[in-house]
């Protein structure tokens, strides 16, 4: 294609889209609907992944000893932790401290159950010694946890794995559901776009026929229709992007407040460029393939 044909091609594609404005509008709407859905799921996944990363990066780990351990045995566990090369630092939480903590927790959070009064008759001997351990490299969390768990006298080791597992499971489901839904919507938009182009092609079949006889190459005939498809896809993408940006901008501060502490939401500023790239890519691909599909038949002259 030569540059001087570009003007002709662009002019034709705009004209075609305008002549067929109702169907063009339908195409644009369906593709923007698909892309909005895509954007929403994409942002959910981005946020889940972001929080997974945060959890991975928090190298805190709690090593709980058995309650019946003697002081010497606790001392042995402590030496093991101190000598572990993957551990940066550790802190011992004695039975007494743990008991105080529990009392404090009951007084502040569980007042309706009677607060710390329900511990009447119990003392710190019911508690167990624990160590709060900070791992040097979060990648080693799992192996360190396993190692510590195997020590004599250690009951269990807690770290963020459970939350991580939960988020992973949620994000897997989100992925499956979004793949199916988005896939369906993209296929529908492909067909609607190709149908719209088919109408244009049909309206101009005589012209195409004449062009073929005069000696126009197939690509010269095809380009305006391809541009028309890309144009519709692109407009759909712009609408979808603006809406998604608006919705996220509205929801993000409010949701962040709701989740305060537990779940951190990504700022839109950090993801918009990727989202735009994906949008432009998908919409151009769908627009172009939709039109190539629908013009094929009319080029055989």
């Amino acid at each position: 294609m030569k540059i001087r044909s570009l003007r002709y091609i662009l002019k034709e594609s705009f004209k075609n889209a305008y002549r067929n404005r109702l169907m063009s509008l339908a195409s644009i709407s369906i593709i923007s609907a698909a892309l909005i859905l895509f954007g929403v799921f994409y942002l959910i996944l981005i946020n889940l992944n972001h929080n997974l990363d945060l959890l991975y990066k928090t190298p805190q780990m709690q090593v709980n000893c058995l309650p019946e351990l003697t002081d010497e045995q606790v001392e042995a566990v402590k030496t093991e932790i101190a000598n572990n090369q993957y551990i940066e630092s550790y802190e011992e939480v004695s039975k007494k401290e743990a008991f105080e903590k529990l009392k404090q927790y009951l007084d502040t959070e569980k007042k309706d159950l009677g607060g710390s009064d329900i511990l009447e008759g119990y003392d710190e001997s019911m508690m167990f010694v624990s160590f709060t351990v900070k791992v040097k490299d979060p990648q080693n969390s799992a192996s360190v946890a396993k190692e510590l768990e195997s020590l004599a006298g250690v009951d269990n080791v807690r770290y963020s794995q459970k939350t991580i597992d939960f988020i992973l499971q949620v994000s897997n489901w989100v992925k499956i559901v979004s793949f199916v839904l988005i896939g369906l919507l993209l296929i529908i938009s492909l067909f609607i776009i190709s149908n719209t182009i088919k109408l244009t092609v049909f309206a101009r079949r005589k012209e195409i026929n004449i062009m073929k006889y005069i000696g126009a190459t197939d690509w010269f005939i095809r380009w305006p229709f391809v541009f028309e498809g890309v144009l519709m896809g692109f407009l759909g993408a712009v609408i979808a992007f603006v809406l998604v940006a608006y919705i996220y901008g509205f929801a993000q501060p409010r949701l962040s407040e709701q989740f305060s502490g537990g779940f951190e939401m990504v700022q839109f500023g950090g993801v918009w460029s990727t989202l735009i790239l994906i949008y432009v890519g998908i919409s151009a691909l769908i627009g172009a393939s939709g039109s190539v599909m629908s013009i094929r038949k009319h080029l055989h002259v």
Binding site: K2, R4, S5, Y8, K206, E207, N209, I210, M211, K212, Y213, I214, G215, A216, T217, D218, F220, V301
Partner: protein, 239 residues
């Protein structure tokens, strides 16, 4: 310029439209192809334009061997030939000027060339003053002249006209044929498919008569039908 060598064409439904066609049209020739509808005349033209491909044999046009021509090359084959149809095939939403310029635009000519070439072509067919009119504002004869201007604008070596006077009254028909003859005198090879006896007879040019898929007569300075074939046609009750 144009050569048919042992050409046979069978359509997918089994109809044999042409068989045993051997034909040579030299550069600068003017030839009529005559025959009734269904004689194979249209198929012959379709083979020339590579709208259809031969079943057997070979067609050579402008140095292109059409039996093995790949689809990608068809546009370039067609740029070397101008085509004129019975139904004019002008674009209704473009002016006369734009219709002619369109043929150059799609072959990606320079705007400068287009501005030079289109008025020349319109002048040749005598329509310079109607450049800004739309096809529906013109008479049939004028529309056909626009189509001829369009077919000539890229300076083709060969002009193919398929029943160019089929939709015109005798007076306009005569104008068109004179125009085609002028084009031929400027060096363009012209092939006209027609079944208008009066024109063929008056022109006294080469006549290639086709019937039932075969060339039954190929005559320099011929008439539409000599007495033998006319007798044959009458006796078969075709008229």
């Amino acid at each position: 310029m144009v050569e048919f060598i042992d050409v046979m064409k069978r359509y997918p439904n089994g109809t044999v439209a042409l068989k045993g066609i051997n034909l040579k049209i030299n550069k600068g020739d003017f030839a009529f192809i005559v025959g009734t509808s269904g004689s194979g005349k249209s198929t012959l033209l379709k083979l020339l334009m590579k709208e259809e491909t031969v079943t057997e044999g070979e067609v050579i046009v402008n140095g292109y061997q059409l039996s093995t021509l790949v689809p990608k090359q068809i546009p370039y084959l067609r740029r070397g030939m101008g085509m004129v149809f019975q139904d004019f095939r002008l674009l209704p939403n473009k002016t006369v000027y734009e219709n002619v310029a369109f043929a150059m635009e799609i072959t990606e000519c320079l705007p400068r060339e287009i501005r030079r070439q289109v008025p020349m072509s319109l002048a040749l067919v005598g329509l310079s003053r109607k450049a800004n009119a739309y096809p529906h504002q013109l008479s049939g004869g004028e529309q056909q002249r626009v189509a001829i201007a369009r077919s000539l604008v890229n300076n083709p070596a060969l002009l193919i006209a398929d029943e160019p006077t089929g939709n015109l009254d005798p007076e306009n028909s005569w104008e068109i044929v004179k125009l085609l003859s002028e084009v031929n005198q400027r060096g363009t090879t012209v092939i006209v498919a027609t079944h208008e006896k009066s024109i063929v007879d008056a022109m006294k040019k080469r006549v290639i008569a086709i019937d039932k898929g075969k060339i039954i007569r190929d005559q320099q300075k011929g008439l539409y039908g000599d007495e033998d074939t006319e007798f044959k046609i009458y006796s078969e009750g075709k008229f």
